[in-house]
Symmetry: C2
Subunit: 348 residues, 2 copies
């Protein structure tokens, strides 16, 4: 069933971007290329958000696949917008191993004879605008749903909350990491929840459920489940970012260490005697592979890996408890239990 | 009457931002400060867009002031979002003589002990997020209007067109100015139309008219009027940017020359024998006041000022022709004629 949804989402994205590129072509080749870069940015993901929309919608008896696909598309485009603006903030030019919007436009500028400085401005402009356009489309997709006002407004509230809280999380993440102080676990977890769990897990589940007509109490339970499981997934991602196999995770196992990313792993390490030794090298952009391996060994030895994994497990346990306490349709309950379980299986 | 509307808009903005700041406070003082900086960015403008929404709405017999205020608020917040992201792209930290969102957050970061690099990242993050939040609220304001679906969807289409075309114009403006070639008049005018006239003049007029129930033909005429008068205003602004009294325009009369801004003035100068002499100094960031005065004299002498002013007048004439050809309510026609006239009176 997820495969069927994936193809529906891919088809919807393809149709939308084809129309957008044609429409953009009237305003010049660069603008069409900008839309193409948004399309490329939106492809290659795992479609977590569309799947959650679809699971919840179908789970509550929703049968209008086209309608669910539009809501799923909205959350996929919201995700695309956030990735693009997150990369802009982090000054990254690569995403999932390929040039991102900024990377593509920097290259395009050089091809058109721009110098380095001009190329940087092109790239930044493209990233600002691409994110704005994807964000606008996410809003429009929900706003134009031909469903009763009350239900559409509930979906707009979910979207509003997702945008509001994600921005809070992004700001907290950036200001926190620049302050240079030791990350406290509580701050790390609330940032994970705000920056990612709400818009990626809570909101898509809530939207699917509301679209199918689920009541407020059960939607609240799904929201709590989404936040908990979302935090578990992020903790696991961060553990894999340091200890995972780059061939499987698709990212360097030293990148997070070089960046000094503030994770649950690091917050735990900061409470141990090993911290001064770890803090000394963490966040060093010049960290070589040997030093990264030493850091990794220190994080293992001081119990940080074990503590982070246990923390993820606790979140999954609490998430699963929400599933059992709520009056969920049986099939959806099974599906979400399996989904929660996957947060753990990846790291154990 | 415009004064009454101004106070209604100010009141609506105040209420909205007060709620947002309280809501944001739950996510930390920095996030509340971010909302405060959006509020500051949205104050001090001339409220051109709200006034146009209101003129068109009232002109077509609209009587629900609260509803019109919400639409006006949406366009004011769209404008705020575009200003913030435009400043981000231009790397400006000052707007209307005061620190903008980035400027405020750079200072805030330094107060919190951040170094120069960290302060720049804070500032950029704040500008990205502030624009996203204002843009999202503009969408939400229209999407939540309690009006019949057909009318709300027509308003959403107007908003969608405004966002789509403004992004095209912003991209064309940046890529054009970086290419370093001589600006052609046609490209300058279409960029003015796309980047500013559509979202600032066409869309607010169309939105007010549609909200009041005006028919598609008359809305199209208003759109044409809006684009023409919008281009006239921009040409005039650019002339004033070079020849105006800084005490009245509120901006330095050398800034556009130092920046090498591609205006109708410059596009005309590029077709005259004076161009090599002008091109030599134009866009020099180190241009002093004497050199700026010389450039100004050269632009006057080669006929660029006269040509740009005549071009603005032509646009006003065409705009007024649209007013006389359309079946407009008499009072609205008079009001819009006066509005068009103002585009000229500022520069003559």
């Amino acid at each position: 069933m997820p495969e069927l949804l994936d193809s529906a989402i891919d088809e919807e994205l393809r149709t939308f971007f084809t129309e957008a590129r044609i429409r953009a072509g009237a305003y010049g080749a660069h603008y069409a290329a900008l839309w193409e870069s948004i399309e490329q940015q939106s492809s290659g993901g795992k479609r977590v958000r569309p799947r959650l929309v679809w699971s919840a919608y179908r789970g509550f008896g929703g049968a209008d696949r086209a309608m669910a696909t539009r809501v799923a598309l909205a959350f996929e485009l919201l995700h695309t917008a956030f990735l693009i603006h997150d990369d802009l903030i982090d000054r990254d030019t690569v995403r999932r191993g390929a040039p991102n919007v900024a990377g593509r436009f920097a290259a395009r500028a050089l091809e058109h004879g721009a110098d380095e400085r001009a190329s940087a401005v092109w790239a930044e402009t493209a990233a600002v605008l691409a994110g704005d356009l994807a964000l606008s489309r996410a809003h429009r997709e929900i706003a134009m749903l031909p469903i009763p006002a009350e239900r559409r407004e509930a979906l707009l509230d979910i979207l509003d909350r997702a945008v509001f809280i994600s921005a809070a999380g992004e700001l907290a993440d950036v200001t926190g990491s620049l302050r240079g102080t030791t990350p406290a676990l509580e701050a790390v977890l609330s940032t994970l929840e705000q920056k990612t769990a709400v818009y990626s897990f809570e909101a898509p589940l809530a939207a699917g459920a509301v679209l199918a007509g689920a009541g407020p109490e059960i939607v609240s339970a799904l929201c709590r489940f989404g936040r908990l499981v979302g935090v578990a997934f992020q903790i696991t991602d961060d553990v894999l970012g340091v200890f995972g196999d780059p061939a499987i995770t698709g990212k360097s196992a030293s990148a997070d260490l070089r960046e000094g990313k503030r994770t649950a792993l690091i917050a735990h390490a900061a409470t141990t005697a090993a911290w001064p030794r770890i803090a000394e090298r963490l966040g060093d952009p010049a960290l070589d592979e040997d030093a990264a391996a030493e850091l990794r060994a220190a994080l293992l030895e001081c119990g940080a890996r074990e503590a982070a994994t246990a923390l993820a497990e606790e979140h999954v346990t609490l998430a699963r408890y929400e599933l059992d306490s709520a009056e969920l349709p049986a099939e959806l309950r099974v599906e979400l239990h399996e989904f929660a379980q996957r947060a753990m299986e990846r790291v154990r």
